[in-house]
Each structure stands twice: as C-alpha cells, then as structure tokens.
Symmetry: D2
Subunit: 305 residues, 4 copies
C-alpha cells in the first residue's frame, strides 16, 4: 500500500503584502499568488507566521485569505493558519476559514497560557471534531514555547485527527522519528526548515513549507524534483544555492528575527517586482535603503534580478 | 511633592465564571464583583490572565467586561486587559475596551512572534497614542517570554506613555529598581506575586494584583492596611496566612499551572458560595471531586468556610 | 522550641583577589577577610560563584581556602563551595575542604550533564553521607540550569541531610514557602539576593549571602540588625542605599554578567584600598579606566571613599 | 585545492565502562576500543559527554584516557575532551591530555558561569595558544547553555585556532552554514546527531561522533561509506536502521536523559558481551532488569545479538 498524504511538495507560507499605510495590498498579493503558481508550487499556506498573521486584525486576516483563495482559483490546495491562543478561539477561526474556502486549517499548541501535554492533545482533538476540514499541527516552539511530542502526533495521525504537521521545531532527531513513524500513515510530514530540505527529504519528509519559497519558488520546485528523481547531488547543489539566497534574512541587524526574516523576504519580492512595497506591520520596521541594497546584492549573486 | 499613581492598593484580577456549557456565567460574575467590592478592593482588573482572557472568544471578552463594569457601577477603577499578539490588535481591542467603559487598558509585550526591545518600546508608544485611556504594562515573561526592561518602563513612565506596570516577572531585583526609579513619578508599581506582598510593599510597591484576592479579598485588604500603618509584623502574619491559603493552587497535580491555579481559585469561590461552578475553558479540565475536597480542607484550615 | 540554624546573618561570598599575573593575591585576600570581620559579618563563604571558583584551578582553590581559614582564625564559621559537576567530584573536593579546616560545604545540583529530581536528591544524600561536615545546598539555576524543589529541600532538612540552603534562584514564591516550611527545622534559609534582603528577612529568611557585602559589610550588618530589632523602616532605608550601591555591577557594558558583577565588586574593593588590583580570571576582562571611574562615582555617592 | 580536515568519518565518543564499585573497568575499556577499531572507526573521542567525563574524578579521567591511548596503539587519532568550566582549567587539563598521548583536545564554551561571545572567543584563542595540540570546539548547548556562533567558529578556523567542531547543538540551519563556510578550510565539521547522519553528510559534514557508534560501529562505517560512494538510498536505509536501534536510549523512563542514553549504550554493550557491567556513575542509576530486557529486544530486532 502506498501512502497518500494530502499535502506534499512545495507549499510556501504566502507573505501578506501591505501598503505604506498598513492595509492589505490586494493587487500585490494577487501577483504573488500568480508568481508562486507559475513557479510550480504544490500548495499555498496562508496566514502562517510568515504571513504576519500575528500582526493582522481579524478583518485583515479574512481579507488576506479571501484574496489568496480567489487568486488561486482552485489550482492547488490552500491551507490556512488559525493561529489563536486556545481551543475555542481556534475553532471560531476555523469556521471562518472554511467559509472562506480554504482546504485545511493549521493550528499550534495553546500559547500565551501555560499548557500541558494532556491539554494539547485535547486541544487538537476538539479542533478536529469541530473544524469540518483537515487539520495540520504546526510545531513551532520558537513561537509557542512548547514542542509537540512525536508520539502524540503519530497517535493523532493514526486516529484520523491530524492530516499532517508543519515542523518548524528544529529538532531534527524528533523529525526523523516522525518520518519513520508516519511510514504507514497518510500523514504529511512537512519541514519548515528551508535550508536543509535536501537532508529532510532524504530522511523521508513529504514536503517543505519554505518562507524563502516566496522569493524563489522555482528553486524549491527544482530541489524537490531532483530529490524525487533520486538525484541527490543536484538536490544538494540547489539547496546550497538556496541557503546562500537565504542570507537575505540576515541583512537587517539589531532588530527582531521576525522583522529581519520577513522583511528580507518582502524586500526581495519588491526588488523582483512582485510586490509594491516592503512595508511590515507595527511594531516592526521595514528594511532601510542600505539593508535593501544588501538584499539586492544577494539577489544579483543568485541571478534573481 | 507626593506621588499620586492612579492605581494603588488591592486590585484583584477578576476570574471569569463559566457555566457548565462554557458560557459566561453573568450572575456568578456579578456576585463575584459584589464580593470583591464588599471585601474592600481598590480596583478591579478584568480580562487578565486569571480571567482566562486567552481562552475567551472576542464576544465572551466583551460580555465579561460589560458585566464587570456594570456590577462595579463606578465604585472603583476598572482596568482591562487587551491581551493581543501585536500592536494593531491591541489598539483595536483597546478601542472596544474604552467603549465598554473601562478606566485603563493593560497590554503585554508582543507575543507569539519574536520581538526586540526597540519594537517593544514602539509597541507601547503606539498603543498609548491610540488608546485614549491610561495604559499599564503587563510584565509577564512566563506568558510572553520576554522581560520588560526596567529602564524602558521608567522612560515610558517619565514620558507619560505608561501609567503603571503589573509585574508578574518574578524578578525581585528588577522590581526593587522599578520602585526606586518610580520614586518621583506618578507611575503605579504593582506586584502580581501574591505570596510576597509584605516584602514588596516594604520595598516600595504601590499595590498588588493578587489572583488569590478573588478568594480572600478581605485578607489582602488587611495586609495592605497593616503595611500602610507601618505594622510590618501584622502584615507578615497576614501574608503567611495567605501563603498557606495559596496552597489551593497545588491541589491539582499533573495538569498545567494555569488549570491548577485558576481552577483552584474557581473551586474555592464555588465552595465559598460566590460562583456556581468551577468550570474552566477548553482545553483545561476542572478540578475533580478529590481535588475539590483538598481545596475545601485548605479553606477550612483558613477559616473561610 | 526555638530554631537554631547553624548559619545566620551576614555571610558574604569572599571574592578571590588576583595578581596581575592571575595568581591568588594572598596579601589582599588576608586584608579582605580582616575587613569583613571588622565589618561584623557572621560567617564567610569561600569558593562560591563570587569567589571565581569556576575559574580557579584545583591548587588555586586550595590556596584561596587556606588563606581564608587562616585569616579568619576561627572567629566566624567558614563555609566552602565544592562546585563540581557531579557527586563523586563533590565528595572528593569536600574531603579536601574538611582537611583545610572549613566548617561546612556548599554544593549545587549536578551541572553540565542533564539531571533529574531523583538524581539530585541522591546526589545530596551521598554527599552528606561522605562529607563529615554540614552540607548546604546552593540553589543557583542561572549557573546549573535546574531549580531545587522546595519539598525536596525540606525533606532533606528534616532528614538531617542538609543544614541549610543558599537561595540564588530568584524565585521569591518558592523562597517564602521554604521559610514557612523551615519554621520548625534547624535549617538555615539564606538568600543570595542582596538588593531585597529587607523583604526576605521580613518573610522569614535567616540570613543573606551578599556579593555586595564584600564592598560594604557594615551596611549589611546594619540592615540585618535593624530587621532583627523590628525597625523595618530603617532596614528598608539601608537596603535602598545598598541597592543604589549595587549599581557598580552595571558599570561594565557588553560583557558577561559575571565579569560585570564580580569585576564591579573587585574594582570597588581596589578603590576602597582593600585589595591591590581588579584583575579577574580568563577569559573575563577587568573593568577599564572609564568603567572604574563609574564605580568610583557610585562609591563617592555612597560615602564609601 | 582539496580540503584536508584532520578528523573525518566515524569518531565515536568512547563510553567508560565501570566496575560495580564505580572504578574504571580497564579490561572492558580495552575490549571496547578493540571492538571499535575492528568496526572500522576513523578515530576515537575519549572523555566526552558519553564517556561520563562530567562524572569522573581527575584520576579516573587520567586512567580512562591512558587505557584508550594504549589500546588504540596509534591505529587511529585519539581526541580527548577537556571538559572544564573555564579557560585555565581547560589549559591545565589539556597539558595532562598531551602528556597522556592524545592527538587533539576538545573544549566547550565556559559553563556554570555566565559568559559572553567575546569571552568565548578569547577562551578558545587562549586554549589553542597553550595547548600544543589541535583544538576542536564542542558545541553542546544542552550542557553549557550557550550556542557557539557560526561566524566565530569560521573566524577561528581561518585563523588556525580551531581544527574542527563537534556540533551537538541540534541547530541544523547553523550547521549547514558551517558546512558552506568551511568549504575552503581544513576545518572538520562533525555532527553529534547520530540519527540524521545521512542528511548531514549530504549537506557537507565531514564526519560523525555517534554515541550509538559504541554499540554498532559497523553500521556507521557502512553509512559513511555509502554516502562517500554517492549511494544515498543505501545511506538512508542504514540510517533508518540505526535510528531504530537508537531506541535503546528510550528504554529507561523517569530518569535523566543522560542516565537513559548512556545507560542504554552501556546496557547494549554488556548484552553484546563487550563490557562487563552496565554500571553508571553516581548519582545516576543503571538500567534495571526490565529495562535491560527492553534493550535486548531492540538489539534482537536489529540482529545484533
């Protein structure tokens, strides 16, 4: 029997372009979705961390997801983050997400509040019972300060509660055991670590959710295709190239990792002509002229301008 | 010149009673507010961590605050948490809070997302510029995983951005420097550490935001009054008694600190006849029969049943 | 029945003066011990964190302890750190410590290696069984990355394993429960937090181990005496003065907390004429001329030059 | 130009067998070294974390290293941990290490004490200046609670200070950048993550320091050989097999990660007949009968008994 996880391949977290006034820039967002689809992505992850979901108001979240769903027009699955502190809030957001036409919801462990393994398991079971859409777990300790236990994830997978996981934990050992444990399950094991995708695919990952995939979807397409073809030398070479491109996230210094990373992606997309501004949400600051020039040099080196 | 911080004394974070179905139990909440006012509190803190604010939907938050404001009927100041991940979301909630009649808003550092000192300072300045109400900072690293820097707080106090801080950081050294630094400022330095209030008041704190104050407001009233009268032996004796009462938060084992602490407070309030159930929000579990009996024994020992 | 813990009052961790070449400066160390005794301290804590014990070779540790014991000449108890990664290493060091004439040994939880509550408890039991001296636990999570559980400490106290604890955990809630739990035990509850001693004594602490006590032992003597006399206003005023003096540890920027804190103490002692240099161990750097001038200003403000 | 790092391939951290009384079991240690050499390892890492170095007294450390050097008889390089809190202590130990005939020393960032990037860099420069042997950095935040910065490591590599790094940080992104940065340097980039070696080698690692390599050196030999031959499917299959074998470290529950991991390795070696007991150092407890049976079943499944 062959595994058939629902979500595989390249599924970038779609950044949310903003106008200088801080509104959703819908024209830029439409262009970005077209660019990603043209680049051959297998899915779109809206309202994730890289989409500034923690910075958007409810109405902005709704607007951003509407635009992504409409621009995608059913070409690939759209999975949507429901990044809320606790269960009932996630469920409320999941209902809106379904109404807006997304194909799956993505939820983290409870955050802000202190939590417990038994509570986390109940959390996912209650969300899945209410959501009427496939649910993916988002394992992102840097944001929620809890690591999702591998045995819990596999138990929830076997019980049909979870359709997959986006792993941004950086725990490569746990990730390997997830891949081994999911070998007989239709459970998508996706890595969020965009600079080690070759090794993760070698170890059994089903796909990748690369923030950098906004900037160079074609590169990740080639990387995944090479891996699927068993051409690991080509996969590694592509990954090495992408790792050098990823240095755009280090252009901004003395700011938050979010502002530097997300700001670097947006600046690169602006320089590539896909989106109109590199504006980011309050209280973050956009990359300045000098930092933008640094991003431009990295794009030039990569042949992307 | 005498300091005149806006908020001083005993300001309990009002727990949010729920029905067995998970709705706001408005009758119980009204009774609780009356009980606290009768107990002599100096203010009410709605929608804080102990109010389960991270577990309530937007409409539940609004309802809970409405009930508190109405039941209080202007007797003491009502300060209200706007616990949101980032700036624009806090501002949106602050506007609702003002419309509902609260007297001040309480905001944390950005959370979920990674942040940076310069972003945190901008965050508070932008909130204060938009809020049309006094703003208190909520320093709670256990929830947001960032400690607010003392020099930033004092700078924002001197600039009229912040009216005070609720310190739940547990950093007693930083707290002492806050007290020293606020000696010439109308800036309320409030501790959230309910079992060391005597020492904090001795060191210069303006007041306390005690979760346990839901259960025994009269005790905190006596403690603060003794300290103000310079009767430190009496203050210590009252604090020792309250520290033993606080053991209700250890009745539940093998659960989250939130479920144990908040669940302990709610169970005690139920046993004292103030609220109808000890229900807590998903994914937490309420204290069971055995744990409830343990809480009852502690109340008995304290003469509170 | 009155408690009679073995170690109470002011017990400074004795810094270890070094020559410019990095050797133990025995003449300076002798002068420091005399200065502390003249200042009225109740005990001396040698080879603690503030003594640079983690930086000294075995022979340097031995030499430093020899000098302290000899200069003290039995006037007050000398307690000595045996700061080693695990049980057998602590025991080996404890044997040397006893041979050198110390009156008690101080040990932390295991560090460097990952550990477990059951292992920590065995660790202290085995040390106490082998040490032939009273054993104090050193609760210092910032160094060993484990918090000692209060119930374990009280169990070990009741079993006669531990004679006391130096608490540098900063967990003021746990500390209060230790004080409450030790109310019927001859177990010394000592705080390492030198800027909140008034509040800690009010809450029941038996004494303090203040790094800053190297610089101003007379101040801590007055603080403890005022507290014992029930003059809490005087205790607070003295503590506020000492908290301002403690700012010498912030004179060095962009360095480790250890280098800034310890370097600040040594610089102040040099400026007060007690020790010859402000040299610190590799890889730390001593305070430079400008930082030394900042320390001098703080000493002047405090009337200590 | 071809890179020629000094240390590559399979370099297991040699566990230190103990007698039931806690002494070094030299006969078992000799058998273990022979077993590893027969298994085709490229080097031996003595006195690392898996060697219980944090648990051994100075004389035990010396004895263990003597036995490894003698049993190895120059067949492969012996690198030896000098796991000490700070610079002078590492240097003192490095001198002993050189006298005992080791080929390189391995040192971590300072631990126990709080440290700083500038201090860490000075630390390694001073060690290298004094050591008279090649120095490898050991990046192990789980033990020392500091991550070594990649740019610092590459700067020290370029300056000839460091001959390599053993990376047990679990930061796969930083590891990839190390591999990219070392592409023109004779700097050995070794991973300590034994269950993801295939992916790490694909990404450019020079070798692996696998604790599990004590139990199955032949497996790691095959894995590295397959990778070098470009047969990534074979490398992955071998790694998957080894990942399942690694489950021996989960046989002990409710104990420290060190006791479970190290105890699992020792128990497997005892069951394979290489060493005499599965004794571990105080305060750890050895695996009991039931846990030993669990390890035996895993060995059976892997065909190693």
């Amino acid at each position: 029997m062959t595994r058939q996880p629902l979500f595989t391949g390249v599924i970038p977290p779609v950044v949310t372009p903003l106008t200088a006034e801080g509104d959703i820039d819908t024209a830029s967002l439409e262009r970005l979705v077209e660019f990603l689809l043209e680049g051959g992505v297998d899915g779109l992850f809206a309202l994730g961390s890289s989409s500034e979901t923690a910075y958007l108001t409810e109405s902005q979240r709704t607007r951003a997801l509407e635009v992504v769903v409409k621009a995608n027009a059913g070409q690939v699955p759209v999975i949507a983050g429901c990044i809320e502190t606790t269960t009932n809030r996630v469920i409320e957001r999941a209902n809106t997400t379904r109404d807006l036409g997304a194909d799956a919801v993505v939820a983290t462990a409870p955050f802000y509040t202190r939590t417990h393994p038994a509570e986390i398991e109940r959390h996912f079971r209650q969300i899945a019972a209410a959501a009427e859409l496939p649910v993916l777990a988002y394992d992102i300790p840097v944001c929620v300060h809890t690591k999702l236990a591998g045995d819990m994830l596999l138990r929830l997978a076997a019980d049909g509660v979870l359709a997959g996981v986006k792993d941004s934990s950086g725990d490569d050992v746990a990730f390997r055991y997830l891949c081994l444990g999911a070998a007989d399950l239709d459970f998508a094991v996706l890595t969020g670590h965009e600079v080690v995708v070759d090794g993760m695919l070698l170890g059994g990952a089903d796909g990748v959710v690369p923030g950098l995939g906004n900037v160079d979807p074609h590169g990740y397409r080639r990387l995944v295709d090479a891996a699927r073809a068993g051409d690991w030398a080509a996969a590694r070479a592509e990954q090495d190239r992408l790792a050098q491109l990823f240095e755009i996230v280090f252009a901004a210094k003395d700011t938050s990792g979010t502002a530097a990373g997300l700001g670097g992606f947006k600046t690169a997309l602006m320089l590539r002509g896909i989106i109109a501004t590199n504006a980011v949400s309050s209280p973050m600051a956009a990359l300045d002229e000098e930092q933008t020039a640094a991003v431009a040099r990295i794009l030039d080196r990569a042949g992307l301008r």
